[in-house]
Each structure stands twice: as structure tokens, then as C-alpha cells.
Amino acid sequence: MTIAKSTSTPITQEKAKWIFQKMHEIRQFEDKVHEIFSKGVLPGFVHLYAGEEAVAVGICAHLDDKDYITSTHRGHGHCIAKGCDLNGMMSEIYGKATGLCNGKGGSMHIADVEKGMLGANGIVGGGFPLAVGAGLTAKLKKSGAVAVCFFGDGANNHGTFHEGINLAAIWKLPVVFVAENNGYAEATPFEYASSCKNIADRAQAYNIPGEVVDGKDVVAVYEAAERAVARARNGEGPTLIECKTYRNYGHFEGDAQTYKSAEEKQKHLQENDAIAKFRHYILSNQLISEQELLNIEQQVTKAVEEAVHFAEKSPFPSAEDLLKDVYVSY
């Protein structure tokens, strides 16, 4: 199995703008959360997506609101790529009443069902069956929708990986399984925990296509996603895409990352940054002017700051919210 690199450029200017902006939103949002967290303001566990932007954005570039995604504990990037509101997201992370989930979910359960974002998930491997269910609805209702399941290299060894992909395969459901192989599950290297060389190699066990993609190359991800989403929409069943990537921060905020080597960090954070790479791609293909890119970057900076402001000035939920929405009726 070889790593698929981008070959052609099917990306329009408009798409390129969208991709660039979304990647920036994710990066700046996460950098900001990191900064705020270090001040001790934010409650709970926070897992940042910075470094992996090309995956969520390259995939979601092919989806619209009727399509579904299931996410992970590291879900901010998926949310943003799927079009969730930054204000609502930041508020949620603060535990405020104006959050996407009224402050009840937090970073690990952030969701926006209207946007087809079926939730971050505190349970590793939790997303596989959930993506299958969304795919089942799409198939039975003939809605043409696709369900994407984002999951980590750690999740790849959980039983739900096996059950979920097998189900999607035998029922030929419109599901795309996207492995975000960032090399680690917490402090445990992929190579230690997984008996396979590539996660995509496991596709053979389900008679579905499996593809390894450079997850720092958003164009490559975009192209692989195009093939997989088309296959899904055509009723041909699921695909497994493995994106080799890296998380720029620790497993969660507070992780000293002793398991990462200095060279490795240098390589990923400095030399092989997905956003820098795409910026270079845009400029060398003269898709968007440098000035316009700068404008986008600045708009994003403003939007993220606005989100923090919005979150900070928002109220906490009130006492009667505690018992609300446990049930529709009881």
C-alpha cells in the first residue's frame, strides 16, 4: 500500500478559499483555546485538533448540511469543518447557556444535529455504530446523504471498528470511514497498539477500498474524499481512508508529551505544516492572491476573538436547566 499524493488540481478558487478559511478557523480556534486553557479558565478535558486540519476540512469539503458526520473527543475541527458556529462552539467549551448544547455537553460532546454534526464523543470507538445508523437512515430514506465517521488510530483497535465497518459493508451503506492516524493514542504509539502496518490495510477484511493519504496534504485528502463520497452516494458502499497526520498539542491540555521526540515535533510543526503547505499550493497555483489570504487570516482572527468575547459575556445555564432535556417527556 502506497501513500496517495495529490496528482491533479480539481479545486476551484471558491473551494480553495473555503478550505483555507476553515483550516485557519480550526488552527486559530484551537490555538486560542490552548491559550485560554493555560490560564485555568476552561473547565474539564480539552483535546485540540490543531495540526490535523487538512483531514476534517479536506473531507467535509464534499459534504453539505444534509450529510452526517460522527466525531471524537478531538471534535472541534470536525465541528468547524462541518459549519458549526464559532460563537456557539466557544460558549459550549466555556459551559455557557449560549453554547451549541446549552453548556451541557462541553468540548467532548459538542454537537449540532441541524448541521449533520452528530456529536463529539467521549467514548473512543463510539462513532462507528453511530455513523452506520446515519448511513442506514440515508439509505432507507433514499436521501442521498452520506455519513462520515472520523476516528483515531487508537479507535482502530476497538471492537466497534470491526462491527461498524462490517455492517456498513454488508448493507452497502453510504458511509466513509476516515482514520486520523496521528501516531498516538494518548501516549501509546500506533505501532505498538496496532498489529497492522496501516489502518487502511484492514479494509481488505471487509472487501471495501482502503486508501492511505498524506493527511497533511489537504488536496490529497480532498481527492480521496471525492472518490469515497461519490462511491457512497452511488450506493456502492463504504470506503476506508487513512490520513497520516499529527497533533500539534498534547493528548489533552496539560500533557507534557514526553513520548514525542524533539525531531518529530520539529518535523511536523515546522517543516510539514498542513496550512503552510496549502498556502504554498494556492500561491504557486495562483488560485488566490496573497493579499486575499491575509484578509482571510485576519477575518478569522477577528471571528475567533469575537467567539471568546461572546462566550465570556454569556451567562451560565440556570438551575432549571439541570433537569431539562433528559427526556422529551417523562
Binding site: G105, H109, A111, V113, G126, P129, G133, L140, G164, Y330
Partner: protein, 344 residues
């Protein structure tokens, strides 16, 4: 019009009616149709579930809506959760409730919590039907009654019917309820026959049924044990004790009012629950009354449950494991303070 049909027939009928009424109702589970993709198999020869409870559904609704699944409970129960959240109204069959060990996460952390975690912006109208109960000589891994585990978990509704008529009405309510429901079917009740109305009807959740009225003693009994209670009540009557038998029908929500008002009348409470005793539904009902009904009580609350041990295989032991009318008489004698009730 009412006719006598079996408990399993009533369950089957409810699913049929629900699937006729709403295209979004689908059924999935292991062998719920049976013989998927077998060329020579006529649909009417298909199993329809390991006990035949879903027989005939695939004939009427086809294999698109009656889906056989691999043995992958986490996979298909989890799938049912989001299928529900995205617009379907699935009935997922967990063949035996003992198999919850393979898919508790999907029920406890996903189905039960989605709505709350999402700030009310999702609903999960899934019904999980599952078999429970001892007495079938099915041993420790196929005989448990695990409704306490589910009752403990907020976000779930828990239904345990005792008669064919209740099973039908409560299952229809379950399917059209917008929250996740776990619907328990006692495998040893499937052949029990009873009067069941034809056509579509529902029975509200959280409304206990007083299966027998009485003024001296309240027995709250769960599922099949309602019949143990009724038998005991017959005997107790001959010994001068008028027993009120309450079938809560749904453990979550629980009809606290009916239970409390009965105890306010009788002053005495026995709970029969064939599950294991610790942290059980029986203990739960006792705790309710020991708080809110304490002033009504004339004596201790007695629980008739299984002992704190797994379900044994040997018929000789399994018969000792289960509640019996005799055990009820003993408890009644104790709280009433009249030994003669046992021996009379």
C-alpha cells in the same frame, strides 16, 4: 373486539400495527427475519426470531424494513440510536437482555445521554426489545432480569409488561415514544394467553395497573411476578388477608403515586422482583416508600427476590432461585405478625 392471544402474539401484533402506521418504523436484530439471502427460503418459513416472536413481519414489510443483523450488538444497537436521531423509528431486538454486555455503551452512553448532552437538540426514538427471565433452564448467561441496570440510567425508559394486553399497548407506546425505551419480554410468558383488544391502542407510561384490589396488604410485583403475586393473593384471601396487587408496568418512569396511595390504605408492603436483590428495582420501590410513605407503614417492607447468586442451570436449583407464592406467604405472615397465614 378482544380475543385471547398469546403474549408473543400480542408483541408481534403491536409491531405489525406500528409498521403499518409509520414507514419510519423498522425492525432490526439477529434473525428477526431469518435466513437472509437464502434463495429457496419462502418468507413464511423464515424463523422470525429465535422464539418466533417476529414471525411474519418480513413477509408483510420486506427485508428493507426487517433487517437481519450480524452478531454485532454494539454495531446494530448503536446504529439504531442514530437511525432514530436522524429520522427513523427503529425497533432493535437484543435477543437476550444478558447480551447487554456487548452493547451497554451504545445504550448507556449514547442512546440515554444524546439528548441531554446536546442540550435538547436531538431526540432518540428507539425501542430496544429484549428477552429476560429465569425458569427456562437457560442458565446464568441467558436468564437474567437486568431491568435495574437500565432503571438506574437517566435518559432511558424501562417497560416490563406482565400480560398480553399490557405488552401490546405498552409496546405501541414505546415505539411511538420519542425517547429511548427498553422493553422487557419474559421468555416464560410468551405462551401465556390473555384477552387483547384488536387494533391500535396505547397504554401510557408511568401508570401502574392495579391487578387486584385489597385493603390489608400491598404487593408490588414486576413482570411475570405479577402472576406469583396474584396466586399468593388468592391463597391469602382464604386466610383472611385482602391483597392489593400493583403492576408498575414501567419502572422508569415509575408511578409513585399509585404505590404510595395503596400503602397509605394497607400499611403493608411486599415487593416481588425475580432479579437479584442488591440495588434492584425491588430495593428502589422499598426506598421510595421508606421515604415518602414511611408514615403509612405498619411494619417492615419485605422484598421477595432472587438470592444474590447467578441463575443456576439445574432445574432443581432454578426452582429454588425464583420467587414463589409460598415465599410471599411467609413474608406476609411476618409483617402481619400471624404465623397461621403460612400454615393454615
Amino acid at each position: 373486539m378482544a380475543r385471547k392471544i398469546s403474549f408473543s402474539g400480542a408483541v408481534n401484533e403491536a409491531m405489525k400495527l406500528a409498521m403499518r402506521k409509520d414507514q419510519n418504523v423498522i425492525l432490526l436484530g439477529e434473525d428477526v427475519a431469518g435466513g437472509a439471502n437464502v434463495d429457496h427460503l419462502q418468507d413464511d418459513e423464515a424463523w422470525g426470531g429465535v422464539m418466533g416472536v417476529t414471525k411474519g413481519l418480513v413477509q408483510e414489510f420486506g427485508r428493507e424494513r426487517v433487517l437481519d443483523t450480524p452478531i454485532a450488538e454494539a454495531g446494530y444497537i448503536g446504529a439504531a440510536v442514530t437511525a432514530a436521531a436522524t429520522g427513523l423509528r427503529p425497533i432493535a431486538e437484543l435477543m437476550f437482555n444478558d447480551f447487554i454486555g456487548s452493547c451497554l455503551d451504545e445504550v448507556m452512553n449514547q442512546a440515554a445521554k444524546l439528548r441531554y448532552m446536546f442540550g435538547g437538540k436531538a431526540k432518540v426514538p428507539v425501542t430496544i426489545r429484549t428477552m429476560h427471565g429465569a425458569g427456562f433452564r437457560a442458565a446464568a448467561q441467558h436468564s437474567q432480569s437486568l431491568y435495574a441496570l437500565f432503571t438506574h440510567i437517566p435518559g432511558l425508559k424501562v417497560v416490563v409488561p406482565s400480560t398480553p394486553a399490557d405488552a401490546k399497548g405498552l409496546l405501541l407506546t414505546s415505539i411511538f415514544d420519542d425517547d429511548p425505551v427498553i422493553f422487557f419480554e419474559d421468555k416464560t410468558l410468551y405462551n401465556l394467553k390473555g384477552e387483547v383488544e384488536e387494533g391500535f391502542y396505547t397504554i401510557p407510561f408511568g401508570k401502574a395497573d392495579i391487578k387486584r384490589e385489597g385493603s390489608d396488604l400491598t404487593i408490588v410485583a414486576i413482570g411475570k411476578q405479577v402472576h406469583t403475586a396474584l396466586k399468593a393473593a388468592d391463597i391469602l384471601k382464604t386466610r383472611g388477608v385482602e391483597t392489593e396487587v400493583i403492576d408498575p408496568r414501567t419502572l422508569s418512569p415509575l408511578d409513585e403515586e399509585t404505590i404510595l396511595s395503596s400503602v397509605s390504605k394497607t400499611g403493608r408492603l411486599i415487593v416481588i422482583d425475580e432479579a437479584n436483590p442488591r440495588c434492584s428495582a425491588a430495593a428502589d420501590i422499598s426506598a421510595l416508600v421508606a421515604d415518602k410513605g414511611f408514615d403509612y407503614l405498619d411494619g417492615p417492607i419485605k422484598l421477595i427476590t432472587a438470592p444474590h447468586c447467578p441463575v443456576p442451570f439445574s432445574p432443581a436449583l432454578e426452582d429454588l432461585y425464583l420467587p414463589t407464592p409460598e415465599k410471599v406467604l411467609k413474608a406476609a405472615a411476618e409483617i402481619i405478625g400471624d404465623e397461621a397465614i403460612v400454615t393454615a
